[in-house]
Symmetry: none
Subunit: 228 residues, 4 copies
């Protein structure tokens, strides 16, 4: 259903030249516009006119590059999946330092690369539209979530292996304890931005604190015997 991801970057900066060269930029401009509007209104409530208007093209032009609104959604998801994982792999491959710092820096890097950009709308979109487009979700799950969890698994195993971390009984749970904060942050950004004061939600501070707490705990007391 979903073609293998080809490299449609959505944030490509564009130096305007009306109808001039660089026609190949059109698709990615449209994808970027679509991401904006889909994230704001949801797929069903988005009108193709809105996307066209935001992309600065006519409605007909959309159909020159994408056979349907749904294909545009697919393109949006595809365009925002691949490079992130590649970046993550590179981070893990090259990081040197303690695993605690690595976990913190990985999380921050992830936030900076995805959460702090417009791409953060994709997870929201995926979640919102999961019920209506299961194949897109499957694609996203396999191409992004699975590799991402693999990366984190690698980090955690590094910590356990080095003795920095205690043994981890249920790896998935620990991964989710980390991931949930980033996802939560992205969702908040797109849903409650207006309601959260700047001080209540400073993403990088929050993530730093979150990882710190996960590493060192809130409690002054030793764990009771019946641990995880």
């Amino acid at each position: 259903m979903l073609a293998s991801p080809n490299d449609i970057a959505s944030d490509t900066p564009v130096l305007e030249r009306k109808r001039g060269r660089r026609k190949d930029a059109r698709p990615s401009e449209i994808v970027a516009a679509a991401l904006d509007v889909f994230a704001e209104k949801g797929f069903a409530a988005t009108k193709t006119d809105d996307i066209a208007a935001r992309a600065g093209v006519s409605k007909g032009t959309l159909y020159l590059y994408f056979p349907s609104k749904e294909d545009l959604l697919k393109a949006v998801v595809q365009a925002n999946v691949v490079s992130l994982i590649a970046e993550g792999r590179e981070f893990v491959r090259t990081y040197s330092g303690s695993t605690g710092d690595m976990l913190r820096d990985f999380t921050l890097a992830w936030w900076r690369a995805e959460g702090a950009t417009k791409q953060s709308a994709v997870p929201k979109l995926i979640m919102s539209e999961a019920g209506n487009f299961p194949d897109i979700v499957a694609y996203y799950f396999n191409e992004k979530i699975v590799p991402a969890e693999a990366l984190i698994t690698g980090i955690l195993e590094r910590g356990v292996a080095s003795g920095e971390f205690k043994p981890i009984a249920r790896m998935h749970d620990t991964i989710h304890s980390i991931v949930s904060a980033v996802i939560f942050l992205m969702h908040c950004k797109h849903s409650f931005a207006a309601h959260l004061g700047e001080d209540q939600m400073e993403p990088e501070t929050f993530l730093t604190n979150h990882i710190h707490t996960l590493l060192h705990g809130l409690s002054n007391q030793p764990p009771s015997s019946r641990a995880s």
Copy 2:
């Protein structure tokens, strides 16, 4: 915009009788059906016929009780906000035990009361529709999120006061470290249910582990000096 929440329970069991009596049950049956369909498809992609069909009534009957599809959405949100907070307050008021256990039990009780039921669709719905219905989000934020955070603040302060917990510099961050796991779980349930194996995501186990990790940490090492 949104009237003060009146207690429309959404899971009322019904003994069928086609016409006539039972009319006071209708609204809550409809609200329950609407919650299901909205959560599955999103607001815009939901057809009123679908709601009517799922509620076992005709399309016209919907409009006997709710002036519009949007009002039905409001009713869905309202119906699933109030009692939860009341339950939470009661839990906090009556709990006796260590604050670590309290935090874990609070989280589990929250999950059982909301996450494990159909009500867990509401947070997903709120997030998905935030862009289109800001007043509903505002209502939800004020009536549910704010009080919920107040409850958790109380628990954390109890732990700090008793010396069980270390001092907490940024209360909001710590609250969000807790909350994010529950929200994450609810969102996953409605988006990735099909993709997550039973063993990868066992909600109560995950939450127990999450709280345990937050309390006692992953690390074998003491925190570096430059903490939060």
Copy 3:
């Protein structure tokens, strides 16, 4: 289609007795209410609820007496046709005086009996709905317009026969010169009431003047030879 007119009077005064005797008044109360609402909104834009509400009964009760909304319209027309013609016949039969005065008094009596009452809504209604209910129009035409024109023909012939009036070449035209003023007045009353000042439109004065002008002319000069 339309039954022979049975005597449903619409202006029957009613002394209220809730659910008491005199159940036979119900139909005429409903017909009176329907006339009001039909005249105000037109047939298609009238909701049966409105009629029921104005009649002070439930919507279901309407269907106890009238098989459909359209039948209610028929009843409204029927109820307001018969007695008028009878009154007119009586007037003509018993009038003694000059034919000029007779014409004026006939016109005024007509206005008082129909134009000044709620019945004046019927001609408006007939005109508005002519395209949709041709059989009702046919009924109205045959039962009211034809007899009414016969009455006026009688008056005009009386005047010609007595030498009071000049010979009348096209009887229909002269009838319409008279009738048009009354119809015009009724239509204005239901359409421009809000726009016409009291002084611009005093019905009885207008009709008196209209008949006077028709009888005696505006001109100081004799007609040119090429008359009608």
Copy 4:
């Protein structure tokens, strides 16, 4: 509410070409079709599909040019108001001849320009829908009725000033004596066309006779003293 009338002619003949060009003709074609159907069925009973079908376009196209059915009604009224008044002014400005002839010729010209064309449906429409669209009625009243009465006032005053006419005590009444015949004729045309034989209602003959009677009277006798 109603924009200043722009010149949408409703009877523009059209040389067919299915798509593309001719787009500026579309609105007036639609307005013409709408006038037809509204006049025939009334506003509420008219389906937008009917208008579209009669205009030879799809339903969607209607909404390309008019935001709603009600706006289409407004456009219909606007399109058929302005030029008439301009024509009337021109007639009055340029007429030379006796005032009696002028009154007759004015009436006939009015009939030919409005009554004999499809525009004659507008007065019927206005009357029928008065209760539901008061602002449209107000527009019509101010833009058409008021100026029309002013024109007739001018004619009558010319006759009085020249001594051709007797003094006129209540100008409004006399205007209405003239106008009522034209309105009556228009209403009849749209309501009783099927019922009136050709000989009973020959519009121009009727109007000629009506004006003749208004000028010279039916009576052989002088008015009694107690005039208006």
